[in-house]
């Protein structure tokens, strides 16, 4: 099928110049800012024919123009003698024999590798390539609903692109027009327009959206450029052309695809966990390469998930990092795990120390919800308190009446090595005391998130004020601490 190319009279000089320079048909379209995707999807030989026809039209004032299917030898005339060396062997090797290419494509340049895209938009985006991608995806045996395609191109391409653009810009300016680099269609974009549809056809039932399988292309021929590609592409014609020719040098061979990788996008899992053991740290506790305590909440939860999902890695984020010696009971802390999915049973069966619940896949936005929860939620604790002076039931009765007690907590010494020194105001909403014996009682607390309970009880060298020692007028210490609940509704509970 032929698509009517949306080209205008003003595009003619650009088309001419680019074809002479050795650009393939699709790259010509790109520099003409053609954004009609169908134009790229048609066979590039067809497009080339149309382009050639286009510039032949109304050639009344251009009697001298020769047919634009020239070899790239023409461009050499305008360059230094030194460069002509590069042309000694007329390149006629194609990057990859494309079985779908018909013989109708005789014009010399169709057989040559495009000087800008190095064949990527010529033969590396055809049905054969699409098939290869599809096969790789199928072989990896993932289950998915959407596939996202992304491509990595060699840096050399952007140098060639810049070179071509400078080449054309000059021409365009002479005619009083403007060609903004941002309007030029990117190679990557055109590539995806072409190949996405083809890959979709091969993977029936899956919508190809934008990026997942990665195709790495490798330049077949290194080019000696002293500045980095990025730096080069910022240069104006005058400076650029001292390092690299405008238009770009022809290439004796095009790109070859390097490999196709399938990557899993991040999966976010949220849930709640309980810690039933007082000697289990949140994260692996390693000092100087030596593990100080066996296992951790993070490892116990993540391990079964990683294997179930064949994930390469994970990030464990929890709202509420209780100390090693604190148990979390009740609804548990909620956690957010990237890169994983899990069967709750697998985790729960694998260890007595940690249990999870309400695991569910959530979105990336869930992260911010969890962080919000950290600020706003309240938590309930029970602490076993020791008092130096002997107490009686009546001595602790007043505790039940304390409401919304505001504390000024300086950063506790036990975390000051890794946190900034600051004074944080935190509220204890309510408390209750349950007498045990003259030197012990259970203290229940409902506090604002982020309150340091231990420091409230023992005072942390007087750096948390007010503290329980002051309230009870005796030295106090905390022997045990349990988290009773985290008062937040997220993530939503999953019925068992």
């Amino acid at each position: 099928m032929t698509v009517m190319l949306p080209l205008k009279e003003k595009d003619k000089p650009i088309v001419k110049k680019l074809l002479s320079a050795g650009c393939c048909a699709r790259c010509v379209l790109r520099f003409c800012c053609v954004s009609v995707q169908a134009a790229y999807r048609q066979a590039h030989q067809e497009t080339l024919k149309e382009l050639q026809a286009f510039i032949k039209e109304k050639e009344t004032n251009e009697a001298q123009d020769s047919m634009p299917q020239t070899s790239t030898h023409e461009i050499i005339k305008s360059h230094d003698a030194a460069l002509s060396l590069a042309v000694e062997e007329p390149p006629c090797k194609r990057a990859k024999p494309d079985p779908t290419e018909t013989d109708g494509s005789e014009s010399g340049s169709a057989a040559l590798v495009c000087v800008v895209c190095l064949g990527i938009l010529q033969d590396l985006c055809g049905p054969a390539q699409a098939k290869k991608i599809a096969e790789t995806v199928k072989a990896e045996n993932y289950q998915f609903d959407t596939l996202v395609l992304s491509v990595s191109l060699p840096a050399q391409l952007c140098v060639r692109e810049h070179s071509c653009w400078l080449h054309v810009k000059k021409e365009v300016r002479e005619k009083g027009l403007v060609l903004d680099k941002d309007d030029v269609i990117q190679v990557k974009e055109a590539f995806k327009w072409i190949i996405q549809g083809l890959v979709t056809k091969e993977l029936v039932g899956v919508a190809v959206v934008g990026k997942v399988g990665r195709i790495k292309t490798l330049k077949a021929q290194p080019v000696d450029i002293k500045l980095s590609a990025y730096q080069l592409c910022l240069l104006c014609f005058f400076h650029f052309s001292r390092h690299y020719p405008c238009p770009p040098l022809e290439a004796s061979s095009g790109c070859t695809p390097q490999d196709i990788q399938c990557l899993h996008v991040s999966v976010f899992i949220a849930g709640r966990y309980n810690k039933f053991c007082r000697s289990l740290p949140q994260t692996p506790w390693v000092i100087d390469g030596e593990r100080r305590m066996e296992s951790s909440v993070e490892e116990l939860i993540a391990a079964p998930i990683l294997s179930a999902f064949r994930a390469d890695g994970f990030n464990f984020s929890s709202s509420g990092r209780e100390d090693v010696d604190v148990r979390t009971l009740g609804n548990g802390e909620f956690l957010l795990l990237y890169w994983m999915v899990l069967l709750t049973q697998t985790i729960n069966d694998s260890s007595e120390k940690v249990k999870v619940r309400d695991l569910q896949i959530v979105t990336r936005e869930a992260m911010s919800r969890m962080k919000e929860g950290e600020e706003e939620k309240t938590k309930s604790y029970t602490a076993l308190v020791w008092t130096q002076k002997a107490i009686e039931k009546e001595d602790i009765a007043f505790i039940d009446d304390i409401k919304d007690l505001t504390l000024d907590q300086k950063t506790p010494l036990r975390v000051l090595h890794r946190r900034a020194l600051a004074i944080r105001q935190r509220v204890i909403h309510s408390m209750n005391a349950r007498f045990v014996d003259p030197h012990h009682f259970y203290l229940g607390l409902k506090t604002q998130a982020g309150t340091y309970i231990k420091e409230f009880v023992h005072g942390d060298f007087g750096r948390t004020k007010p503290n329980l020692c002051q309230l009870l007028k005796t030295d106090t210490d905390i022997l045990e601490l349990d988290v009773e609940s985290v008062d937040v509704d997220w993530p939503p509970p999953i019925p068992e």
Binding site: T382, L384, W386, Q388, A390, K410, L413, R414, V415, L416, H417, R418, R419, A420, L421, V436, D437, P438, H439, H440, Y442, H458, G459, F461, G462, D475, D477, L479, E480, D482
Partner: protein, 181 residues
Amino acid sequence: MDCVDQSNANAEAPSVIDRYYTRWYRADMKGKACEDHCILQHSNRLCVVTLAETHPILQEGRTIKSINYQISNGCSRLKNKVSGKSKRGAQFVTDFAPLCRITCSDETEYTIYSCIRGRLLEVNENILETPNLLIEKPSTEGYIAVILPKFEESKSITEHLLTREEFEGVVSKRSVSQPSS
């Protein structure tokens, strides 16, 4: 919840200090008799500078008249402002850096020294308001300062300090040579 299964309810459970800190001592600081300092080193390497129980300030029912953190014309420990996790802006102190000067009501004056190298994180402002804290609770609310040694030096800083046992040895020798106190 687990019950308290142990001992005598009157027995003192190991205190916060016993559980998380190691006591180190510097005796006769700067050659001055009995001006002993006690450094409480947390397992996270932070050090709290305190007076050892043998320090003269804590003897003979002294009371404190004033505490001054201005140790020289150009330097006040109160002006020490640290920011961020890396504690930028902290004054760097060495072993013999003075932290504060304490004047007792009997006009005796004492200088408290850092005893270790590191960044000065904070000095205790509570004792400015309530100097009595220093006398009553020298090891806790009456602390002098908090210092963060360099990570690489966290072990080596204690090389010049005495362990509790060593310190007790030093102290007991004093009572032998000086019959009264």
